[in-house]
C-alpha cells in the first residue's frame, strides 16, 4: 500500500468534489495551434488534478519584468498516470520548463507537449504522448479529405 502521505488531498492540489458518474466528456482540442510550440519557464502556482481536465498554472516572468500566469492543460488523469504522472508530481513553487501548443486566440494558455521538472525529469503532456502515439512530431497526419458532401 502506498504511503497515504504521498497523496495530498487537502491542499490546493486536492481533487475537486465529484459531480457526475462515470463519464468521459470529450473535450475539444482543436483550439490549440499545433503548427508551432511555445517554450515557457516559470513557477508552478497551482495544479488541478481533475478528471477529465488536468491543468497547471505557471507564473512566467516576462522580459519587461512583469509576470503572466499561463494556464496549461496537461491531460486526463488516467492517461497521464500511464505516462509517469502522479497527482503530486507538481508542487506549488516548483520551477519548471514547458513546451506547449498555444491557444489559437493568442492568450496565455495552451496544451502541454512536455514539461521538465525541478529534478530534471521530463514528462509528456497530452499533446506530447498523442504525438508519440501517432509516430510523428506533429499533428494527426490524416489526409485533408473534403468533408462529406
Amino acid at each position: 500500500m502506498m504511503n497515504p502521505r504521498r497523496w495530498p488531498t487537502t491542499s490546493l492540489f486536492a481533487v475537486m468534489p465529484f459531480l457526475a458518474s462515470v463519464a468521459s466528456a470529450h473535450h475539444a482540442t482543436s483550439m490549440y495551434d499545433r503548427t508551432r510550440t511555445v517554450q515557457l519557464e516559470g513557477t508552478v502556482r497551482e495544479q488541478l488534478w481533475v478528471n477529465p481536465h488536468c491543468s497547471v498554472t505557471v507564473t512566467v516572468k516576462n522580459a519587461d519584468g512583469t509576470t503572466t500566469d499561463w494556464s496549461v492543460e496537461t491531460g486526463t488523469p488516467n492517461i497521464n498516470l500511464r505516462h509517469g504522472w502522479r497527482r503530486d508530481t507538481l508542487q506549488r513553487g516548483d520551477r519548471v520548463r514547458l513546451v506547449i501548443y498555444p491557444h489559437k486566440d493568442g492568450g496565455p494558455s495552451g496544451t502541454l507537449v512536455r514539461i521538465t521538472l525541478p529534478d530534471g525529469r521530463e514528462l509528456d503532456g497530452a499533446a506530447g504522448f498523442i504525438d508519440k502515439e501517432l509516430g510523428n512530431g506533429g499533428d494527426a497526419p490524416g489526409t485533408s479529405a473534403s468533408p462529406a458532401k
Binding site: 481533487v15 475537486m16 468534489p17 465529484f18 459531480l19 457526475a20 458518474s21 462515470v22 463519464a23 468521459s24 466528456a25 470529450h26 473535450h27 475539444a28 482540442t29 482543436s30 483550439m31 499545433r34 488541478l48 481533475v50 478528471n51 477529465p52 481536465h53 491543468s55 494556464s71 492543460e73 488516467n78 492517461i79 498516470l81 489559437k104 494558455s109 496544451t111 497530452a126 504522448f129 498523442i130 502515439e133 501517432l134 499533428d139 494527426a140 497526419p141 490524416g142 489526409t143 485533408s144 479529405a145 468533408p147 462529406a148 458532401k149
Partner: protein, 261 residues
Amino acid sequence: MFEMRSVPIFGSALVLCALSLALVPASAADDEAAAPARLAPPSSDLKDFAGYYRPDYLKPLVKSAVGTSGPIQTVDHQMPPFTPKASAEFNYRLSKEQAGMPVMDTTPQAGLPSACLVGFLSPVLVIANRQQMFFIFESGAAPIWRIHLDRDHPKKLAPSTNGDSVGHWEGNTLVVDTRGFNTSGHLDLVGTPFSRDLHTVTRISKINGGHQLEFLITVNDPENFTQPFTTRYTAAWRPDERLMENEIDAPPPGAPPGDPP
C-alpha cells in the same frame, strides 16, 4: 451402496482431503503470474478473446477530435455514404468540433463500440462467461458493451444507449447483431449522425496470432446513409494494461463542463 467397515479409513480420507487443500496452490496459475505481464501471450484458443487490449490508431480522413481516430470511415477509407440530410448535419458538427466548440452532448456518450474504439489512448477489457461477453472500455460514460450469447433480441426492445447485442460464432468469428439504439450515444466523437433505426453487425476475430482483435462493423441506417457500409477497427493485445476508474470531477469554478480550464 457400500458400507464402511473402517472408521480410520474415513478419517484418513478426510485428513488427506484437507492436506491436499492446504498443499495445492489456491491459484493453480501462480507460476504463470511470475512471467512479466507484458510478455504474457494471448490464448491460442481463437475463440478466447479475454484480456486487455488497446485500440489501434486509425488515420483519420479529416482533422478533428485530436487524440482519437476521428470520425467513422469506411473499410476502404472513404467517408460514409451520407444522405443529404445526414451530410449537412455531419458537416455542421465537424465544423464546430474543428473550431473547438463541439456541439454534441457527449455525456452520457459512446455506448457504441465504434465510438469507444476510436480512442487509442485507453484500454478495453474483454471478459466472458457462458452467457455473455463483455467489452469494458475505460473511457466513455456507457463503457460496457454487453453481448448476449445465449439468447436472441427480446420481442419488446426498449431503446438504450448501447442497444441490445446478441452474438453467435461463425467459425472463430463472433458475429454480433445490435439494434434498439436510442440517440444518446454516438458512432464517433465528432458527431456522425444516426437514428433509432440503426442496425449494426459486428464481426470480431483474432488476427495476427491473437495479438490483435479485428472489428468489422457493418452500419445500416437508411435515414442517414444511402446504403450499408462497413468500417474496420483493430485493437492490440496489451496484457500489461489495467482498467482504472473514470469518475468525472466537478470542473473548476467558472469553467463550463467539458471545456478546458
